[in-house]
């Protein structure tokens, strides 16, 4: 009311002013800002600017400005005079949501004239929306929801934005009444990831939530399974079969289910184990149910992988399991009418109806049979729960069974004692005394107890025997004494055991045990053990049993023998491995390899023939290995001193040239080849060496050969040239290996060859795929409708065929780009191999070709 008054005054004032000045609605000044929104708790400053003409008219300046908040005048301390026309006010810690702020001037000394007024609105900027999530109700549009954060006190707009990687969708603006959720106006596309975020904006700011990226199919809430129905089975009374109709989304995604059931009237639901219903289906058989019981079921479903939301629960459906035969017998009792006459008595038999969980169906009747002592049977079929019969005074046995549609229960047996039954109880006999309460509506549950008139010690002791005998322990066992010989309640047993010489030891054992373990026995000792059973009245010993503890515990021998054997085996293995690794050394020592000179070929020493393994100097180390078969000593001599030795031999050759006399001893001492071959030293016929078939003089042959040449370079190559000869003859496989290593990627040709084999193997089944695929492709040409009909079936078969096609193609693709090159490489490798094999034989022609050098 007061506010209204203030504004009325202001309006009137303005009207007067305007009227007097002649300008319509022209206030005397202005407040800046005009419609401010400030954050709660912050400071706010407003400036009031007076107009010159007003100031002149009223004779005021900025010093005359008075700020008011509603009716309260703001203290002068909060004012700041900016200049003659303007003054500001600062409000600290704004806490009210809505403030009327006016700028007034004091005219004529005391009269407050309102100049201008503003409404200050305060609130909070929006908080970042949290927990953004979306749900796609099957067949409906997508709805996203979020947590908007704190109250802002201002009008806050939420905008849901969504986009694909390639495209933006229209914004979704929230409705005023649901500011925390928004339903987009397009159906989401499954299997395309989309990015969604929400933007909250008000006058104080704008914030964006975290972006979420998802596939709408992972946010699906399927429609509820429809038409749930329950049917029972006559074969099995413990099962019920549920059937339902899935929602259409089963064509797009796989589903899993949640099935709950309860007996009718129960309040808690039982759950079918989820793993049993983890795949798309339209029926399920629930097992382990009780017979003839009504169950209520409900079902819901969701995407198989658990992404998304459970559908709503289906409507409940109920069904009754089929009947089973009664699982229990009725409680049964009799009543004898005391007023009996001349040898007959009237007996009333009565029983209880079975509770439903035992009846397992509708009880159609009861069958009672009466049997007199060793006499004929009397049968009765009764619908009621009682039967009155006239009996003689003899003893009778009565049986009762309940019957339903499926079968009958086990028989309940009752003995009606003879009329003149007199009790006689013997001492030391066990009696079972049973007391059954009889209520008005029948018997209660009976209670039994065992009792003796008078106990006596057992007439026989228990027979003990060993169950297991160990090195230091023995497990004893015995049987419970038969009731006939117990003569009382067995309270405890005592076990006595002793060695041949030692004292007897006694152990008390509780009567409930039938087994006892004797421990800390001495090994390899004879023990005698016997046992006594005690009643309250005394005990009786049983027969003595002897056993001998073994010398070794079980497994002890094995524990010793096995490690020893293993150790031996290991040693042998290591020895063999060592011998294997050092076989060259051993071979050299035991049977050194003596080259057969008769197999040597003189031409192969040709100095022009490049040694195979010297193609690549780096591989020298490998070729060295080739010599192991010849003689390690030689090789070492060769390796270490090849150059000086050769130099020496060069000198020697020169000397020989001078002396013309081949000093075999000299050569033998210097030449590595001759050092191990005594036969060489024996050769002194230079000329005969030219004949390659001559016995063993190849050392001298070379010698002479070089002698006819200029003995400079050839001398070095002489020792070298022998290497490939020996290599190729003795270790052809090494040569190949060297070849393989040669190229650096030496293993490649072999491997590629293997790969080629692979791809060749795989191409063989290819033909059949091709044919099959052709059939599939022919479907392409068929008419559209048939395609439509088959389309659900074909892609699967197509897919499987395709998989095979793919495998074969992938094999080809994986190696495809290389196959041609491989082929070539393979060919060249093969060539090389052929060359390797042919090399030793083709040495002679080669030397002719290469240098024309021929042994003379």
């Amino acid at each position: 009311m007061s506010v209204l008054q203030t504004w009325l005054v202001q309006a009137l004032f303005i009207f007067l002013i305007t009227g007097s000045i002649g300008v319509l609605l022209d206030p005397c000044g202005r407040i800046n800002p005009e419609s401010p929104v400030v954050q709660l708790g912050s400071n706010f400053t407003a400036v009031c600017v007076l107009k010159e003409r007003c100031m002149d008219y009223f004779h005021v300046n900025a010093n005359f400005i008075v700020w008011k908040m509603g009716h309260f005048t703001i203290p002068k301390e909060q004012y700041t005079i900016i200049n003659r026309t303007a003054a500001s006010v600062t409000l600290t810690d704004v806490t009210s949501l809505n403030i009327q702020l006016t700028c007034n001037i004091l005219t004529f000394g005391q009269i407050e004239q309102n100049v201008y007024g503003i409404t200050l609105i305060s609130g909070l900027p929006p908080e970042k929306p949290k927990n953004l999530n979306c749900i796609v109700n099957e067949g409906k549009k997508m709805m996203c929801y979020w947590d908007p954060g704190r109250e802002t006190y201002l009008e806050t707009n939420f905008t849901l934005k969504s986009e694909w990687a390639t495209e933006k969708f229209a914004d979704c603006k929230t409705k005023r009444d649901t500011p925390t959720s928004c339903t987009v106006d397009y159906s989401p596309v499954y299997f395309v990831n989309m990015e969604v975020w929400v933007e909250a904006a008000n006058a104080l700011g704008k914030v964006t939530s975290d972006h979420i990226n998802f596939d709408p199919v992972d946010k699906v809430k399927p429609n509820t399974p429809r038409n749930l129905s329950v049917s029972n089975s006559e074969e099995l009374s413990s099962i019920l079969k549920l059937t339902w109709i899935n929602s259409n989304i089963k064509n797009v995604i796989r589903l899993k289910y949640d099935i709950q059931y309860r007996t009718k009237g129960a309040s808690t639901w039982s759950q079918i184990p989820p793993e049993d219903t983890a795949s798309t289906r339209s029926s399920f058989t629930v097992q382990d149910l009780k017979p003839f019981t009504e169950y209520v079921f409900r079902i819901r479903c969701m995407k198989e992988d658990g992404k998304g939301f459970w559908s709503d629960w289906s409507e409940e459906a109920s069904g009754i399991t089929y009947e089973d035969r009664p699982s229990n017998t009725p409680s049964f009792w009799y009543k004898i009418d005391p007023s009996h006459s001349h040898g007959h008595r009237s007996v009333q038999l009565m029983w209880k109806t079975l509770p439903p969980f035992e009846a397992n169906g509708k009880i159609l009747g009861y069958e009672v049979t009466l049997t007199r002592w060793k006499s004929r049977l009397q049968n009765y079929t009764v619908n009621d729960t009682k039967l009155t019969v006239n009996l003689t005074n003899d003893r009778y046995i009565v049986t009762l069974t309940a019957r339903n549609a499926v079968g009958r229960s086990d028989a309940s047996v009752l003995t009606i004692p003879a009329c003149d039954f007199q009790g006689y109880l013997a001492e030391s006999k066990c009696y079972l005394i049973t007391v059954t309460p009889v209520y008005a509506d029948g018997p209660g549950s009976p209670v039994s107890i065992k009792a003796y008139l008078k106990q006596a010690p057992p007439s026989k002791g228990p027979t003990v025997r060993t169950k297991k005998v160990g090195k230091n322990e023995a497990v004893l066992e015995w049987d419970q004494l038969p009731v006939d010989v117990q003569n009382g309640f067995i309270r405890n047993y005592t076990i006595f055991y002793r060695t041949n010489i030692g004292n007897e030891t006694a152990v008390n054992v509780d009567s409930s045990h039938t087994e006892y373990t004797l421990s800390s026995l001495t090994s390899d000792t004879l023990y005698m053990v016997r046992m006594a059973a005690y009643t309250d009245e005394g005990g009786k010993d049983g027969p003595e049993f002897t056993f001998t503890t073994p010398k070794f515990a079980q497994g002890e021998i094995e524990a010793i023998v096995v490690p020893v054997c293993l150790a031996f085996l290991l040693t042998t293995l290591l020895g063999v491995l060592f011998c294997f690794n050092k076989r060259d050394l051993i071979k050299k020592h035991i049977w050194p390899n003596v080259p057969d000179p008769s197999k040597s070929h003189i031409a192969q020493w040709s100095p022009h023939t490049p040694p195979r393994h010297n193609f690549n100097p780096k591989d020298q180390m490998y070729s060295d290995g080739n010599f192991t078969d010849v003689s390690v000593v030689e090789i070492e001599a060769n390796d270490k001193k090849s150059f000086p030795e050769d130099l020496k031999s060069l000198e020697l050759f020169k000397k020989e040239k001078v002396s013309t006399e081949g000093h075999s001893s000299g050569i033998g001492g210097s030449s590595c080849m001759s050092s191990s071959r005594p036969s060489i030293s024996s050769s002194d016929e230079n000329e005969s060496a030219q004949n390659t078939s001559s016995t063993v003089q190849y050392s001298t042959v070379v010698h002479s050969g070089y002698r006819h040449q200029v003995p400079s370079v050839q001398v070095f190559s002489r020792s070298e040239s022998t290497q490939p000869l020996l290599d190729s003859e003795e270790r052809p496989e090494d040569l190949q290996l060297v070849d393989n290593v040669d190229g650096g990627d030496g293993i490649l040709p072999r491997q590629q060859y293997f790969k080629q084999n692979c791809s060749q193997q795989e191409t063989s089944p290819d033909i059949s795929h091709f044919e099959r695929s052709n059939q599939v492709s022919s479907v392409n040409e068929e008419d559209f409708v048939r395609l439509k009909q088959q389309i659900s079936g074909i892609p699967q078969s197509c897919g499987s065929g395709q998989m095979k096609m793919f495998q074969e193609v992938s094999a080809a693709d994986a190696f495809g780009p290389d196959t041609e090159g491989q082929g070539e490489r393979f060919k060249t490798a093969g060539m090389e191999a052929v060359l390797d094999e042919g090399m030793p034989k083709s040495y002679l022609p080669q030397t002719v070709r290469q240098g024309g050098y021929m042994p003379q």
Binding site: F191, V192, D584, F784, V809, S810
Partner: protein, 225 residues
């Protein structure tokens, strides 16, 4: 110890090398970038989903076109539908396509089909049909984006539409109403065939992106030496 002294040492060394290289085998390292596998799987699922969608859409639309188009044994010759990209292809040719070409063909086909389909959308009579067509268009747009995503993952450039060949829907007066319907019929049929083919294409790609175990073994052997 000389490595070549015995084969056993060589084998031991080989075994050690294999073990050493085992962590480096890409097939065994699943922690890193998942690669294009998931997006291809998604695209495959999408084609199957679209197939399913189209089945009901085509039924509705053909009913809208009326007889003889909605008759089950209607099999007209392909007249005037030459501008539509053809999905049927010789099997040998299809098999010999490389990944890039395969994806490019798919992308181009759907760009064209989408354009035609949008024309269909404008013509459709009932609101319900318009709505399902619009949703199908959006889905197809999604498929295009999906294919583009797979191509980007595999490092293939997107095909640039040639200026002038950009298909436009012209409900020209040259077409009689029947021929117009025939075009619509063929568009739907071609779409169905394309979706079927794409499912095969992406199934193939999907399997190719999971290298068979045998290749890993071979790879290891090569490392070992």
């Amino acid at each position: 110890m000389d490595l070549r002294a015995g084969d056993s040492w060589g084998m031991l060394a080989c075994l050690c090398t294999v073990l050493w290289h085992l962590p480096a085998v890409p097939a065994l390292n699943r922690t890193g970038d998942p690669g294009p596998g998931p997006s291809i799987q998604k695209t495959y699922d999408l084609t199957r989903y679209l197939e399913h969608q189209l089945r009901s859409l085509a039924g509705t639309y053909l009913n809208y076109l009326g007889p003889p188009f909605n008759e089950p044994d209607f099999n007209p010759p392909r007249l005037g539908a030459d501008t539509l990209p053809r999905a049927t292809v010789n099997l040998e040719v299809w098999r010999s396509l490389n990944d890039k070409l395969r994806l490019t063909q798919n992308y181009e086909a759907y760009s064209h089909l989408l354009c035609y389909l949008r024309g269909l959308n404008r013509q459709a009579a009932t609101a319900e049909l318009r709505h399902s067509l619009a949703h199908f268009c959006t889905s197809l747009q999604g498929l295009l984006g999906s294919i583009a995503g797979v191509m980007a993952t595999l490092g293939y450039p997107l095909p640039q539409p040639l200026p002038g060949t950009e298909p436009t829907w012209t409900p020209g007066p040259a077409h009689s109403d029947f021929l117009q319907k025939m075009d619509d019929f063929w568009l739907l049929k071609e779409l169905q065939t394309w979706l079927w083919r794409s499912a095969k294409d992406f199934n193939r790609l999907k399997k190719k992106m999971q290298p068979p175990a045998a290749a890993v073994t071979l790879h290891l052997e090569a490392h070992g030496f």
